[in-house]
């Protein structure tokens, strides 16, 4: 549910609950995107690949 939905209520419960949900989703998504970007950068030699 997004805040512009008519069922949305601006109260603490909604903000905490959806806040945590969207935060968790953002963290996971950001991690994957960062890994993907790093990969692209390393593949094209923009950044030096660290030795694993």
């Amino acid at each position: 549910m997004l805040p512009f939905c008519f069922e949305w209520v601006w109260n603490v419960d909604h903000i905490i609950f959806f806040g945590l949900l969207y935060t968790a989703l953002t963290i996971v998504a950001t991690c994957v995107v960062i890994a993907a970007i790093k990969t692209v950068m390393q593949v094209f030699g923009f950044t030096r690949q660290r030795h694993f």
């Binding site: 939905c5 008519f6 692209v40 094209f44």
Partner: protein, 226 residues
């Protein structure tokens, strides 16, 4: 390094501009063509396929019937034919009896269009109801009280149905092939965006108006659902 000319390019790879050197020129063209094609399919072909078109039994001119009214969009003018019953329920599209009130009288001022001839010979003479197709038919789960909105809420008909009191032709009836609902429910635009209050008839539109008018309590589920 890979030789890009020999590798079949894929859309996934093409999605990253930085990978451009991996993909040949042909690959980019393919991607572009595919992208445009997908947009065309989604925004033009899909809506065309989704909605079936059916003509109304014959044309009806609201303008002709409201010629004597001062304001064709006035609620009282509409209520002459789209009337309330005694128990407060709404008639909707008038039945033949209503048409009869004027059209049975041979002295009544009648036009001479083909549509009128169709009406008089095929329906009026045969005493057969006209199978009109409703542009605003809601799903079965929806309860709507016209009395609450028109009589108590004093809302104009055009707020939801749009101004068509002065229209001369009936628009083509289009129905969603999957859900069976008329296109007016989702709205003409496939994107679902609206500019006028009457562009859509979805639950969100009902709720939006209730909220705007300060009737949040009417967003309770059972007010509009049955």
């Amino acid at each position: 390094m890979k030789n890009s000319a020999e590798k079949p390019s894929s859309i996934v790879v093409a999605a990253f501009p930085a990978l451009g050197r991996y993909v040949s020129k042909g690959g980019w063209l393919c991607f572009l063509a595919g992208f445009v094609g997908a947009l065309f399919l989604g925004w033009y072909v899909f809506p065309k396929l989704l909605y079936s078109s059916q003509p109304q039994p014959f044309n009806f001119s609201h303008k002709v019937h409201l010629e004597e009214a001062d304001d064709p969009e006035d609620v009282e003018s509409c209520l002459n034919c789209h009337a309330f019953r005694d128990d407060g329920t709404f008639v909707g599209i008038p039945r033949l009896d209503k048409c009869k009130e004027c059209h049975e009288d041979p002295e009544s001022p009648l036009g001479d269009s083909d549509d009128e001839a169709t009406f008089l010979t095929n329906y009026m003479a045969e005493k057969k109801e006209v199978p009109w197709l409703s542009y605003s038919r809601q799903p079965d789960c929806v309860y709507f009280s016209h009395a609450a909105h028109v009589k108590m809420g004093e809302i104009e008909c055009k707020t939801c149905h749009g101004p068509h009191g002065g229209s001369e032709v009936l628009p083509l009836y289009r129905e969603n092939r999957i859900s069976g609902y008329p296109i007016g429910i989702w709205g003409e635009r496939i994107s679902g965006l609206k500019t006028n209050t009457w562009d859509r008839m979805k639950m969100d539109d009902c709720a939006e108006c209730h909220t705007e008018k300060g009737h949040e309590e009417n967003n309770a589920c059972f007010v509009c659902h049955k």
